[in-house]
Symmetry: C2
Subunit: 429 residues, 2 copies
């Protein structure tokens, strides 16, 4: 495999690493109780704050250097694509195998295993879409058997607002929510712990530069506003959801917790892995003009997404996590640019740091379902290597999301893990 | 009318004033290009920042004084009920007719008519409820004629998340949104300016102290977490809404703009105006135990709410705004405490400054509909004094919300105006 360039950080050149020099995702970690920006490189983190302190970013503009000393990615996100590219080029130069003063940089690396990661972004608004037609169709067939895919689906990138306060970083415990649920045959609902806790495998789009109120973002400019992508787990309580969701959509079924990965992969790092957008069947309507991109042949992203589960019994028996599904971002009916443009087509303003999630990413085949709910149509229950079975999540189950892309002649670009372990509910009173 | 106490600020003693000494709502205004906290008193604003500077708050704790020097209400909101009461008592003392050093305070008043008001709160999350059964039933009958009130309504305080970035202060222009709409008979949707722009008359509940993730707020503690109330106009594009809202709820139909009033009325100021909560019909189910308050006899608030409209032609002919409806907050099916408790019953964390809006407040009678959509069931179109008619809003229409409470022997407590004027859409492309 011929990789264009490599790093003096040896672990970054491991073909299995998520974090080669071509990736350089951004995160925020605690350095002596203070939040610092960093980029992942192999099994290390390069501290951008101390890079700035040591004059290693002095070729960059004052705004970029100041953004590297911030406590969140927001100031950097607000600077726009040229600034992002300039910083990225400089960081690549510092980490390149041919860099002559690598000793100066080496001192600023932190082992990733020792780092405590924080939410990388101060998220102003969080929007969740529903961009997988396979997910929408399978879930629709459970909630509305006679009417699975609604007539608006192929015209409107369906989305709704989520909760910001309960967005947590990978590794945070997920407390099983209490709520109202009603069995189909019951007269009245009851209040108690959810019995159908689920994950949803999603990609988060982190907005860089926003738009002014009243001014939409044209489809061919949409990607210029995207800083990068992360993993998102939109934890969902299906029994609460099915009782509460009409007519205004999911609320308490979703807003108890949403987990995001610590690393934000720059959209620029994914450019060699772009693929054609989803091919609409011939009898599907064309997107309305405001959603019709002139670059459909590269509007998709070839990104493999995986879900793993490890139960308490598996941990005790030292069994590795078990894969539950494998899908691909390219299977979305709507592109990431269409989600951005649709969101702003009414003049709604996006701000730097806003999070737009794709909705559950599922493929057409069995084994590519992005949540457990979709697996309910399988005749066999999910069987774990311990002999346990699962319909939904049990307390102490850990869910791990992974995402990566790989192509012949190009390095693997990965997102790291996005994990969460379910803990028992509080007393539901 | 015997009013317990009066102020040396003469305009505060006018029985028509929204802002007697018993109200003292909080807001944020621009003072020489810097945001300062203030309280409304008659036609004046008392500047809390300069009060702190001049030592007029020195009897209060350091935290309260520091919060009075902040740029938003959030620090004060986070301090809790005892701190709010202590500050309120001190401000009442400074403004009381019997205050001996009124000259010291007089110099710190700003005429309200000269003040530029800002959003008073840095809102982290915005949730919109659907707490009026009259609204839910009338609107439901339009969207779902055979199924107006869904089976969950009398058990679940239905709510959903709104957009924070597009919350604007009273007086901001409201740009008509573009969006997808589909006529019932049409094959496919079209993209263009909304033709059915509407207002929604709501009250906003501003959260003071929040709750920790995973820990709900018990119903009998709910009001302790409420800092105060404001007016909210949840502008809505009905044609966009009816096409997009299934299955995940309203999105672009609502998130282009939400207007709030500049003044936040402390919940404490409303305590003399508390009334029994909505009396559920005998055959309605009782609230589930987690929503069952032990103080139903005072869980309601007697607050009159009014909507006025002034068209461009009315302005040109110097006609005053015309009243469109008059309702009352006490007509809500769910109390403000129930909204807070339900929101947290799954462990969802509220933060200081979060906004919970009630949803459209409508009463049972004709003339108490809190939005134009509900008036569509009237046989006659709405007729303005110019001879114009309205089904929905036209460009240059101004909508004005007012709210006040008044009881024999007690002063009028008002919210001031919450206004917005519709302007033509951008080019929809």
């Amino acid at each position: 495999m011929a990789i264009a360039s490599s790093s003096w950080v040896a672990s970054a050149n491991d073909p299995e690493s998520d974090f080669p020099i071509q990736n350089l995702p951004y995160g925020v970690f605690l350095y002596r109780e203070t939040a610092h920006l960093g980029v992942a490189i192999g099994d290390q983190i390069l501290d951008l704050y101390t890079c700035a302190d040591h004059g290693l970013l002095s070729s960059l503009s004052r705004e970029v250097v100041s953004a590297c000393r911030a406590r969140t990615l927001n100031p950097l996100m607000s600077l726009g694509r040229d600034a992002w590219s300039a910083l990225r080029r400089q960081l690549m130069a510092l980490l390149d195998a041919g860099y002559e003063k690598k000793r100066d940089v080496e001192a600023l690396l932190i082992p990733m295993k020792d780092a405590i990661m924080r939410l990388p972004v101060d998220i102003g608004d969080y929007t969740d879409f529903y961009a997988s037609i396979y997910h929408a169709t399978r879930v629709g067939s459970l909630f509305r058997p006679d009417n699975p895919l609604l007539p608006n689906y192929k015209y409107v990138p369906i989305g709704y607002h989520g909760r910001v306060s309960s967005i947590v970083i990978s590794g945070s415990e997920i407390r099983r929510p209490c709520g109202q649920t009603k069995a189909a045959a019951a007269e009245a609902p009851v209040f108690g712990p959810s019995k159908s806790l689920d994950y949803e495998l999603e990609i988060g789009i982190l907005v860089g530069t926003g738009n002014s109120p009243g001014h939409s973002i044209p489809i061919d400019k949409a990607e210029e506003h995207i800083f990068g992508l992360c993993l998102v787990n939109d934890w969902s309580a299906r029994d609460i959801q099915s009782w509460e969701y009409q007519p205004l959509g999911p609320f308490l079924a979703k807003n108890f917790a949403t987990t995001i990965s610590p690393w934000v992969v720059p959209l620029e790092a994914l450019s060699p892995y772009r693929v054609p957008a989803f091919e609409r069947p011939a009898d599907d309507p064309a997107p309305l003009p405001y959603l019709a991109s002139s670059s459909r042949e590269k509007d998709g992203i070839d990104l493999t997404l995986e879900v793993y589960l490890q139960s308490e019994a598996m941990r005790q028996q030292q069994m590795p996590a078990m894969i539950l599904s494998r899908g691909n971002l390219r299977d979305l009916y709507w592109t990431i640019g269409q989600l951005v443009t649709h969101h702003t087509c009414n003049g709604c303003n996006l701000r730097p740091g806003d999070l737009l999630a794709t909705g559950t990413i599922s493929g057409p085949a069995a084994g590519s379902e992005g949540c457990l709910l979709e697996k309910r149509q399988n005749p066999e229950p999910l069987r774990l290597p311990t002999g346990e079975t699962r319909t939904f999540l049990e307390d102490d189950d850990e869910i791990i999301f992974r995402a990566y892309t790989q192509r012949s002649g190009l390095p693997r670009i990965g997102f790291g893990d996005c994990t969460g372990r379910v803990v028992a509910s509080q007393a539901c009173e």
